[in-house]
Symmetry: C2
Subunit: 355 residues, 2 copies
Amino acid sequence: VRTIDWVDDAVVIIDQRLLPDEVRLVSLESVADVALAIRTLAVRGAMALGVAGALGLALAAREAVRDRQDVAEAVESAAAELLATRPTAVNLGWGIRRVLARVTDGPQAVIDEALSMLDEDVHKNRRLSMLGADFLDEVHGPPHRVLTHCNAGALACVDWGTALGVVRSSYERGRLAEVLVPETRPLLQGARLTAWELGQLGIPHFLITDSAGPGLIAGGRVDAVVVGADRIAANGDVANKVGTYGLALAAARAGVPFIVAAPESTIDQHTRDGTQIPIEQRAGDEVVGFQGYRTAPNGTRALNPAFDITPADLVTAIVTEDRVIRIGSGEKPASTSAEPALVDGTVAVTEGVRR
Amino acid sequence: VRTIDWVDDAVVIIDQRLLPDEVRLVSLESVADVALAIRTLAVRGAMALGVAGALGLALAAREAVRDRQDVAEAVESAAAELLATRPTAVNLGWGIRRVLARVTDGPQAVIDEALSMLDEDVHKNRRLSMLGADFLDEVHGPPHRVLTHCNAGALACVDWGTALGVVRSSYERGRLAEVLVPETRPLLQGARLTAWELGQLGIPHFLITDSAGPGLIAGGRVDAVVVGADRIAANGDVANKVGTYGLALAAARAGVPFIVAAPESTIDQHTRDGTQIPIEQRAGDEVVGFQGYRTAPNGTRALNPAFDITPADLVTAIVTEDRVIRIGSGEKPASTSAEPALVDGTVAVTEGVRR
């Protein structure tokens, strides 16, 4: 089962709010359904968001045809609605703009473009994971003890995963010893999603509190930190789930490699550095309690930034489906295949041919 | 109401496991009651543990007199039982050894020594808090926005608090703007205890996830980090609640002062540096769920270090009841009034005269 898919003219997702207790598939029949699913994190993760945005436009195109309305107008209106859901992840905008670029070719082109992104995502993740597993072997002699934050696994993508994909590829090669998984408050993607994925795959792992990561890194318990990204600036600064920055500081001080695993589409050439990346501020309700149970006194106010910025100087390398960008050796993310795709979709076609 | 007190020949504590929902006083009638209360964190915090250990011996002495048993034997056996409860906090051993040194003077001397520590704790904390508030004004122009981790408030002491005591003194002077409070997983001392204390005092505060601290410090939201300590090594390395190290790394990088507020008794001259401090590993149950509600999949294993070590080079200063040790300027904790107390209780007498 894929995390997000297109079945019978609807978007079908695994509702991630119910994991690990229940694996429930939910059918999203309208753009409003998709927007709500994104906002409530029923679907989340940089890659999955890109595909969700694209498939949302496919839904809009299909609906416009059925109701004999203007397709371009419907798709553009849907694009605006979906773009407004979450500000930090650049992939959401990337997926939406890529499909939007096909709207002049008619509704079927919109739908085809969106659907092409499903298989493409899986293939990219697998290539990225092989490169990442190679790089892990390069920076550290196996077996590897890896710490990964939040969930950049199959549940953050269509399938397979990015940071957790690297872990998975390394494990398949017999080179991975264990994974440390910070629980990732407030929404516990580590405890609920990553621990669940690793359990399904039979990969040895330990859950830890988010606070424990830096001390365990300093204590020699971690050979490499591997995380995903929600947006990478042109200078190599990385926005990722809140808590990533503290792990990067600890890794740098301990001389432990800090590796970012994310597809080219996560690199935003239009963002000069981390100071330009908008950080989503989510509701304080998520912090003062836990799934309906209140932990703090009534009336306690909370700040809830969902992401933080890890400066490029703390990053050892960024691994994409195409390359290893050795930030630690002075390399910078440069203009890549991701950018033309925003303009005319050429790359998507190339991708299709390549696989 | 004091966090821990001696009432009608029993130790009376606020049961901190029930806060913030309920303020319940519990009477501990035996050494075994005290040991269980310490182990389950019904009473916790470096200062409160020191007093709890001491009052536990007073209970043992009183009981031995009542049952016509050997007082020295009973007190020494109680000391061994209580010392084994928690390994990291040095104050527990300090309180126990200080009272133990009086056992040759008979049961009343044991009880008097233990009881003298109640008022003494409050007076020390108040002096420490004044010095800390002075130092805050020295390193940063008011108003101050302070981040404090875990709970080093009245609930960690007999009354008033250490790190939160500094916050309180600064607020009383009209120089404190707001406090950021990491929730402090797994047992949520920040959300349950510190937010509650600040609410009672009317001091403006925001709860945050533990992960959010480093990014908020980097983003300019924090003027100083002020924390307590469970043990300070002779070289200035600090053991404190897990998560402190990541905050110290972020503070150092941002040029934000990192201040440790703890009494002289927290300084362990016999511990050369942080590598010699034993880190308590608590049960994984605390991490895989939350107050009985399971968050991770069944069978998930967890690591649960309760403390981490912040190296001295990340510490701006240690503030005690007697002095400001400017670690950032090369000062080291040197032999102090705390040490003779371990041997013959002289300082306790001096303290008694001073107040």
